[in-house]
Subunit: 288 residues, 4 copies
């Protein structure tokens, strides 16, 4: 019923902890002929919540893709699960929002092109016109939506329309310097990834490299997180840091930080599109 091409289904589930969940899920997959190639779980002891990621080969499975979720319904009800079912060959349609600095945008496009990151960048939207050419080079539609203080709500609405029109299921804020409204954010829950150029929660808000330089830190960092209505406060997906010294000016910190931004954003996008991330309040579970 399903091809022998290595395509997998991924179950991402969470529920109140109780005995028997692991056995029940494993049994479900086994009974339907799926071979589990990865199963990771986590039990949050603070809240007694159980999280699991189960990936199994569709080849041999006696359920069609659309039958899996209905077949899981009894388990979902029994354990009061949140559960999503996804497939490894569903390549998400990604919209990238970007302002002046193009390094994260170019990196995502290059990774996508060389087959390193399973995403389909469908549209690039910017409040600046600068990146039209590079988008064209990569064969991606570019939408220029300038913004001023007066036009902010209208511009955001236009951004949202463009994303919707392109069927975008993952929005990446690749150094997009505009604050998004709660309404916008709620349109893609846990599906807007922002790269913030500091080690959050240090240096929230604007010009974090300048803040870091003034404070005299010996390490700077970057943070990839899901955007929420609360600025710079969303669940953190990944972070990384680099050592700096008194020799580094604020612009040196910016330069060093750029190399981190590129890598940490790509790692976070990869974790998301491989269905490895579960959100739990302000925290995330990121399976390896």
């Amino acid at each position: 019923m399903n091809g022998s091409d290595g395509t997998t289904a991924v179950l991402l589930l969470s529920c109140p902890d109780q005995p028997g969940i692991v056995a029940a899920v494993a049994d479900f997959v086994f009974r339907h002929g799926g071979n589990i190639i990865d199963a990771q779980q986590h039990m949050d002891r603070t809240d007694s919540v159980f999280f699991q990621r189960v990936e199994f080969l569709l080849d041999g499975c006696d359920l069609a893709r659309e039958e899996i979720e209905p077949a899981l319904r009894p388990l979902i009800d029994r354990f009061a699960m949140q559960c999503s079912v996804q497939f490894s060959d569903d390549i998400p349609r990604v919209g990238v929002l970007v302002s002046r600095q193009a390094h994260c945008l170019v990196d995502l496009l290059a990774r996508s092109r060389r087959g390193e990151l399973p995403i389909d960048v469908s549209v690039v939207i910017s409040n600046h016109a600068d990146h039209a050419e590079v988008a064209e080079w990569f064969g991606v539609e570019f939408v220029h939506l300038p913004v001023t203080a007066d036009t902010k709500p209208a511009q955001e609405a236009a951004v949202q329309s463009a994303l919707v029109a392109h069927g975008v299921t993952l929005v990446v804020l690749a150094r997009y310097m505009q604050i998004l409204s709660g309404e916008f954010v709620s349109r893609w829950p846990d599906a807007i990834i922002n790269i913030h150029h500091s080690f959050l929660p240090a240096f929230m808000g604007g010009r974090p490299y300048h803040q870091a330089h003034e404070r005299g830190v010996k390490i700077v960092g970057v943070t990839a997180h899901y955007a929420t209505a609360e600025l710079d406060d969303g669940p953190i997906i990944d972070q990384d840091v680099v050592r700096v010294s008194h020799r580094d000016s604020a612009s040196d910190l910016q330069r060093r930080g750029r190399d981190l931004e590129v890598v940490v954003l790509a790692r976070a996008v990869r974790a998301h599109v491989e269905h490895r991330v579960l959100v739990h309040g302000r925290r995330t579970v990121v399976f390896d």
Copy 2:
């Protein structure tokens, strides 16, 4: 039958990969009333070998400790498993071998005393007399077994006897500068942990910090690995590194390396005694 004190059993198993293993093991635990609190698995695609660590609460389990392995026998046979069963309150008896430098020894004793590392250091053996006092301070028996080129086999035999006499199940080479024979090593298979003061396989053999200085590397590292008959070639459990520069002399590298040795050895011992390590040829699977 088992206490309600949070004591757990840990199954560490490996076998040729095939569908149904995860379900069978989870079902086994569930049927016997155990609640799985951690289950991690890994499938080595090169060799099609499946590895799993399953930890479950004894509280509620209808099997006594000594009944678990026999009850698992049908599964072990069906899947041709290697399987060990261990318990979280079995504190291993550890023998520490050390030469001149005491930093790793002192660190292990201090971690053990403050309850950070679940080990019972039963005996400290050294070819130097220097560390008698510190062993005494920590209340651990100290055995001084000096060695010369002529007495090497006899001394090693005496070391082995002392370890056996103390019922040691884990040997830690905490900067022990004597090469051990294959016979000795085979006495504690995958249960002798050595800390090598280089990023293996770079700088095998003696004086690795001097080798590193001469080569002009910009990073030095250390490696914790299981000892095998082949010097510096055993399965790696953990490694870490630190950045150095042209300013660092060979003795600076030694000093910086010491801080790494302490931490990496402690991490490797922790992984071992928490039953998180499975050996697979020259490699290890180390579950988080």
Copy 3:
């Protein structure tokens, strides 16, 4: 006039930037027969302030130790310098303040004993009695000064007296959980080193590992800084971090953090006692 034992003098100086400083200082040392073995400088472009560390061999120098600073006076006046003169064989008298957790204390004592850190720990002061034995083991006087909300000012005065009585020139807060008054801090300007168990300025104040766990960060850090009247706001000397995951509870973060605290505090103390640190407002210049 001075021994041929490798003893060096270290000049640490800062002044408004202008041409000729490097030449003037190098010429001064050369004229007096000193051989410069290390000279590092830094120019802060924001404030146009020049910083320099010059280390030269006393062997061959025609000035006695006490004559160096007077001989420098014309240069100091000409360039409006702040300048200190120190000697590599002046081992600072250190007072260590500690509360419940002993890991940083023990580490400093062990490094000092094995000759790795050129400090003379003269007194250990704690608001708990627990560490008397370990201090005795290392041959250091231990002073127990318990504190309650009511006795805080009196206890702090007693701490200060004990430090003064021991001639302490460097105070190390090795996980000392009491807030010090501005008066106390001003008694040892730029000579009280605190280890804070977070990556400052993230998680200032109490229970930073718990804060970090709640925020769901993927990296935790520690910060060694000079204490100032403003809590957790003093000039940062060194920081380091370690990667964590959703698997880590708040107490796991504490455990991982302890390994960092030990190393970062030791590095900061080393930088200080080797006269490598210059304070510039809220920032530091730390020469390699």
Copy 4:
């Protein structure tokens, strides 16, 4: 005589250590009206060799560029110095050699274009035709020079001719998978930078990520070094590493390594073109 635009001269010098060098060089610059903005030195105690980097503003200097080296001649002779004089506005002409994988090439071109790296990539040469388009996009000439076992010497000669024809002073091997002859290497002494995809000296030779996977290391690294006649043995400029686990296949190591290769190669090129690197036998001095 010289502009007031912040252009600097950089002296890179080395000589047998003796007193008075720092003073003599600083005095030289001061007498000629140059303002030193950076001076770093290093004394190699093993070989008693002194290294220094001195950077001073040309503005105010009474020597024309071409007069500086002749004016330094007495100092050079007195101290038996190796000395080079370079200028911050001399942008080096760079030739990039690349095989199949383009990530390092694209990164260098992007950094150059956005003004982050002061290089002029004059020509891209590859044994594959794939990268013509991207070179064109960045406006750089592309030369396709395919190679077989039979044509190797002729192809290398053609590569060398193309580099010479473009006046290349720095050759970057951006994942160029052909071994270069000693004759070729000697044409650009200490001016061919290679990025090797392992933490040298571990895993020299071919397919290092596969070697690393087989050995089961827990960290992989990359190394930027000057090419010498001896393969993978040249002086190391920079290295970096990333943590891996049993979950990572050899191709995962390749992917993780690519992110390192890009950053470490860029850092090494930056250090070289900012005249921060001095070669000392198999080691380098890399000033910050």
